[in-house]
């Protein structure tokens, strides 16, 4: 199993360790519910060093990123970050990812751990005709996420970057606890917060200092369990559950990352066809109306037929009910539509509700 540079610290903090896509990672420390609530009300610190990093440079770097993704990276200036996807020609997902614009000819891509090698092979394998260089940098990077309403207050005394002036989906370089880092105002929780990248071979002091300084303010270390409940309340996609190479970008209700006016890109013809003909299914949010917890892969019935399986489903620690996402036939996607989820053989009533399930109040 692969280990991040913070592995020993997780053991020391009593993290329950599990295997996650080949990595030994903490699933929880103090418990999913207290960790979840700490991020919603105070702050939480995540080791997300398993995430993948790929650097695209060269004269055609922008042209190449534009070809691989549906969002418009051409509108971005250095210092910005964008949520987008790696598309197949069918407009399904190789992965979803963040694009960091480092310079006019330099794009830093942050991809899911589960897809890291596949994504690198995909990106390195489609360069024909583009003057670009693609470098796989996952092994040299460590990444931490500091998330929650107190994130800025905790991080500011430890960095020379002016965080107050950093807008959402922007990045800057500077020192964090004396280590050279890239810090962006991004995350996977629906809260304000930062992601901290470093190539320093000994980044542990960043973690220990954040725990030490943030602890008295209510900061907790957060495992993968709460990472999943936090991202689902905010309807942030999980590859393999909500999006995959079997679901298109429009079916996933991610039309906002599709910018047709930017020109040609992989998957565009299928997107145009689906726009013209309409969708047959779409990803929607639901809540269980009856007691129970709907979990991934539970069978979903609508109008007397099995139509799908639950994509993501969990108990929401904040809303205290069972929520989830499912691809329903298009005539079942209106808010308020009732359908059934089979939980251990028992049909349980569910209802389509608006998403995100949780949206933080803007400061």
């Amino acid at each position: 199993m692969k280990k991040t540079r913070f592995n020993e610290l997780h053991h020391k903090l009593g993290g329950k360790m599990i295997e996650f896509v080949g990595w030994e990672m903490p699933v929880e420390y103090s418990g999913i519910i207290p960790e979840h609530m700490a991020v919603r009300t105070k702050a939480g610190l995540f080791d997300v060093s398993h995430m993948g990093e790929i650097l695209v440079t060269g004269k055609d770097a922008l042209k190449y990123v534009q070809w691989l993704t549906p969002n418009d990276a051409g509108k971005l200036v250095p210092g910005q970050v964008q949520y987008t996807a790696l598309m197949t020609p069918e407009s399904t997902f190789v992965d979803d990812m963040l694009v960091y614009v480092m310079g006019p000819e330099e794009y830093f891509l942050v991809v899911n751990a589960a897809n890291d090698d596949k994504d690198f092979a995909w990106i390195a394998g489609h360069t024909k005709g583009f003057a670009v260089k693609v470098e796989h940098q996952s092994d040299v990077y460590s990444q931490l996420a500091l998330q929650g309403p107190l994130a800025e207050k905790i991080l500011q005394p430890l960095t020379d970057i002016d965080l107050a002036s950093m807008k959402s989906f922007h990045w800057a370089k500077g020192k964090v606890v004396g280590k050279a880092c890239l810090v962006s105002r991004t995350g996977y929780t629906g809260e304000d917060g930062f992601e901290i990248y470093t190539t320093d071979p000994e980044p542990q002091v960043i973690w220990t200092t954040l725990i030490e300084k943030g602890g008295p303010l209510g900061l907790l270390p957060i495992g993968l369990g709460a990472r999943d409940t936090l991202r689902l309340e905010s309807k942030l996609m999980l590859y393999g559950n909500d999006i995959s190479d079997k679901t298109t970008v429009l079916e996933a209700d991610l039309k906002w990352i599709v910018k047709l006016q930017k020109g040609d890109f992989l998957g565009r013809p299928v997107i145009e066809k689906q726009l013209a003909e309409g969708l047959t299914r779409k990803l929607v949010g639901f809540e269980l109306v009856e007691p129970g917890v709907a979990r991934p892969h539970y069978p979903v019935h609508f109008k007397g037929q099995k139509v799908a399986e639950v994509a993501s489903g969990t108990f929401s620690p904040l809303l205290k009910k069972s929520i989830g996402l499912v691809y329903l036939p298009i005539d079942g996607t209106a808010e308020g539509t009732e359908f059934e989820i089979e939980i251990r053989g028992r049909r349980t009533k569910a209802r389509v509700i608006p998403t995100p399930f949780y949206k933080r109040a803007k400061a």
């Binding site: 699933v27 929880e28 418990g31 999913i32 519910i33 369990g225 409940t229 007691p291 129970g292 917890v293 979990r295 969990t314 108990f315 620690p317 251990r344």
Partner: protein
């Protein structure tokens, strides 16, 4: 930690004999492994259980687990409080977090279960 008057199973249930009846729950080890428990699916009173038969389901945020009957019997009472406060299983697994009461079919069946000392040794084995 593990009361001497209880017996225990490999599946981490406890059972406490009280006359002809017995109370059944899950152990402190079990609740700790499961994490925050949010929902308990309880069986119906009057249901007849064979030994090792699933008597209900415990759901934590991250997982779902069956709870098995340590011995055969007929359910005389279920812990209704768990319907609204499932986290009693985390807070007091050996007390207020009890799950069901049964009328025991054959008390001798309990002799085949772990004593507290056996169970603690069993747990030590799991951790290595």
């Amino acid at each position: 930690m593990y009361p001497n008057e209880f017996r225990y199973t490999k599946d981490h249930e406890w059972i406490k004999l009280e006359g002809d009846e017995a109370v059944i729950g899950i152990t402190d080890f079990a609740q700790n492994q499961l994490g925050d428990i949010i929902y308990v699916e309880l069986p119906a009173v009057g249901k007849e259980l064979a030994a090792h038969q699933s008597l209900g389901v415990v759901e934590s945020v991250k997982s779902v687990s069956d709870v098995y009957a340590p011995v055969a019997g007929v359910i005389t009472k279920v812990n209704e409080a768990l319907a609204t406060t499932a986290d009693l299983l985390n807070k007091d697994p050996h007390g207020q977090g009890w799950i069901i009461r049964i009328k025991v079919k054959d008390k001798k069946e309990l002799d085949g279960l772990f004593t507290a000392g056996d169970y603690e040794k069993f747990l030590e084995g799991l951790e290595h």
